[in-house]
Symmetry: C2
Subunit: 521 residues, 2 copies
Amino acid sequence: MVDAETPTRKRRGGGRSGNAARRGTAVIEQSAWRIPVNTDHPTEPLPPEGVAAIHEAAMTILEEIGIEFLNVEARDILRKAGCTIEGENVRMDRDFVMEMIGRAPSQFTLTPRNPDRQITIGGNHILFGNVSSPPNYWDMELGRKLPGTREMCRNLLKLTQYFNCIHFAGGYPVEPVDIHASVRHLDVLYDKLTLSDKVMHAYSLGRERVEDVMEMVRIAGGWSHEEFEATPRMYTNINSTSPLKHDEPMLDGWMRLARRGQGLVVTPFTLAGAMAPVTMAGAVAQSLAEGLCAIALAQYINPGVPCVIGTFTSNVDMKSGAPAFGTPEYMRSTQMTGQMARFYGLPMRSSGVCAANVPDGQAVWETSNSLWAAVQSGSNMVYHAAGWLEGGLIASPEKFVMDCEVLQQIQRYFEPAIVDTSAEALALDAIRDVGPGGHFFGTQHTQDRYTTAFYQPFLSDWHNFEAWEAAGAVWTPERAHRVYKDIIGSFEPPPMDEAIRDELADFVARRKAEGGAPTDF
Amino acid sequence: MVDAETPTRKRRGGGRSGNAARRGTAVIEQSAWRIPVNTDHPTEPLPPEGVAAIHEAAMTILEEIGIEFLNVEARDILRKAGCTIEGENVRMDRDFVMEMIGRAPSQFTLTPRNPDRQITIGGNHILFGNVSSPPNYWDMELGRKLPGTREMCRNLLKLTQYFNCIHFAGGYPVEPVDIHASVRHLDVLYDKLTLSDKVMHAYSLGRERVEDVMEMVRIAGGWSHEEFEATPRMYTNINSTSPLKHDEPMLDGWMRLARRGQGLVVTPFTLAGAMAPVTMAGAVAQSLAEGLCAIALAQYINPGVPCVIGTFTSNVDMKSGAPAFGTPEYMRSTQMTGQMARFYGLPMRSSGVCAANVPDGQAVWETSNSLWAAVQSGSNMVYHAAGWLEGGLIASPEKFVMDCEVLQQIQRYFEPAIVDTSAEALALDAIRDVGPGGHFFGTQHTQDRYTTAFYQPFLSDWHNFEAWEAAGAVWTPERAHRVYKDIIGSFEPPPMDEAIRDELADFVARRKAEGGAPTDF
């Protein structure tokens, strides 16, 4: 099925978009789909006693201070499990926590409707997801910040599907506020499931939404309920309300997915100096306590259900209290959390983040810091890896495209071929043949390898200044804008059976007729 | 002494520059001068057998293929040392090479005229230098690429001196082509020595230049010849003419500084696929061979003279043959060279590099990749760490300022306080006091620490979009331009005795009268 918007966009988009669409060819030469394996030893700033100290602090928080679970069912379950409940406060001892965490697999798969898009989470795998949940959108053409719409959301979903370096579809890449909140999840999931065949996410924002999304993912996969539950197909991500609180709908969704054996990611947002101590070790310990107790709950409900411990520990601006991202403190807390995740034997999630408002140098250095921190920490899932601006308040297609260039480079960085030291790679014969003052361009050794020897960017411009100037002196964000337009203009959604598409549409229509989800929270 | 240009610039520069200059206050709040210690374990892509294989290849190049030394004196010395000389080709066996390398210190100091600016090279220290040697200049005000001038060079030298994260002054930050080549070194060294009190560099571009620069550094320090030679005061960097060649003037300068016990850095420019094999291990092995033979020569001449092995191994663009920088291949070759430098017990130099033509997103991701590779490789000297564009063909003050923001963040990243896991840092009492749903802003634990808890940027804008827009919606390069103007407008050179300044000026006048240096090469 060809995207219904394409013809209009082709006319508007002019030359390059139109040509690419007519040719039916790829608009850029991107890297192939693959599941990257992080071959680096993680960067570990903590000595063993530092790991022990943070563990001790996290356990003390859970044992002595406790976490508020604003969900009656969750408290009932944890009471039954032997935890101490006082009002909404839940305390759990370390033996229970560690026993429950011990049930969680260190590695698992998520298998979406296209089995070729299966991803493995845990071990040395590092996977990237699109920006999720900004309420606003910015692009070069608009030149200003606007509330998200369904069209903007669809465009960012097309980028999510298009780029092979994006492995999973997170939350809504921008919040489409032009759709009423009661039915937004229905329309966006319809868009997501028809525009993408990658792993899907459900927001834990109330029973109806979670159940609707699970049902739509099931329908899209053509699975029976048993097949849906036979292996993890999708996942949710919940955030604690730091400090020390899990709210009602998040816990509800968490338990629903736990029961059906789907993927569970818990990511406290512990901003040091605001919702967490001003000291990074304290913020990390608090984050771990908030995450581990949710994982303990899930493992009690469904032993062995796949769980991921997330980190979103950053710091505030000392002067204004505003959140900062991609800072030195952010990098170290991510690395520390990585050490702790390995200590607990849990897969880990971190993010690609920045505080910058536009896709400029600051955006890149902050995002680059956070992406390298993801690598250094041994993160398995990297949320918001493409498209995020303004501390998550803006989604930008230019930033998305720029980030994908960097993600491709990180993927290439992990390829063992670069550090091959075989006799062929050491190339002594070529060095001998070329000799002093010669040139390697024309040698057989080069000719045999030059098409695949090096990473080839799609967005970096390696022309010299004069050639770059002659071609219009286009800076990075504008180049990214053009790539974005080309991709959108020639986008072809992945195949889907007409019958399944109809079933999805019928489901959306029926649930809309029923009123969708309540919007009283 | 106030810079003679300041009053004019103050009037031209308008508001902020003028105010900052009048107030006599710092234009930005920058990090303090310090010698950063890289606390991370290096990233080591090679297994032990990979290190052994590259060593074997480098030794085989030196033993069997040989390096051309286009300098009669160097060949005579190496012949005396027992090397095999055939024409200009020099072969040296591994026992000799390893014995000579074993004489080089693993760590040493360079002490400039201001002893507070002493730097330690080697061990875990990581030091940053300014951009060196671009023939051209670009800034936002010009908006175009122009050949360098003395004024541009002076402005970049002021940035070099101003920023505490820049530890040493490399070569000319832009080549001032408005000064005749015969006397250029005299004028620029006068500018460097009067505008900066940091460690100085001499180009090895002929006997007269090297001797003039050493003499000027000696005069500026107020040292006798004995005092100059008592400890390393300055350094040179030479590049081999890859593949497998060292040219006449470079070797001449190398030997002159070696005899006087000054710092020696050798940096082959092995561009994989052009001047080196298309495979990175081969390019690294060739680079090492070219570097190690120069170090062997220096150690034979003056045992124990401080030497640094440099890397500048990158790759070409597969499509155009143009050099690429900050690529995945660049990162891995830098890390591999780091492993080899530790194997040989030598301090290491790498660089901050990019192919981008303007200070945009590409410039930052390429530079960021290269700076993190410097960190990961355990590099001790990072050349071109601020200000470089277009593969080293352009120097830019905006890029300089942007890079310094990133360098400050890297320095902060190494501070052990961030990963402190003491009881105070774990902050259990604060977490207990604040409790679920509370806030850490007002707690005593936060109040006691918030002014120093987090890195404070001078260039990153952490305001939200609306505040950023209200302040003019200024993108990173334009913000950097304003900081640059403010710094230049209120720059105050470091103190220097009037008598020494006069002696320097007299030396320059006398050497100009003598005709300076020959320009026939």
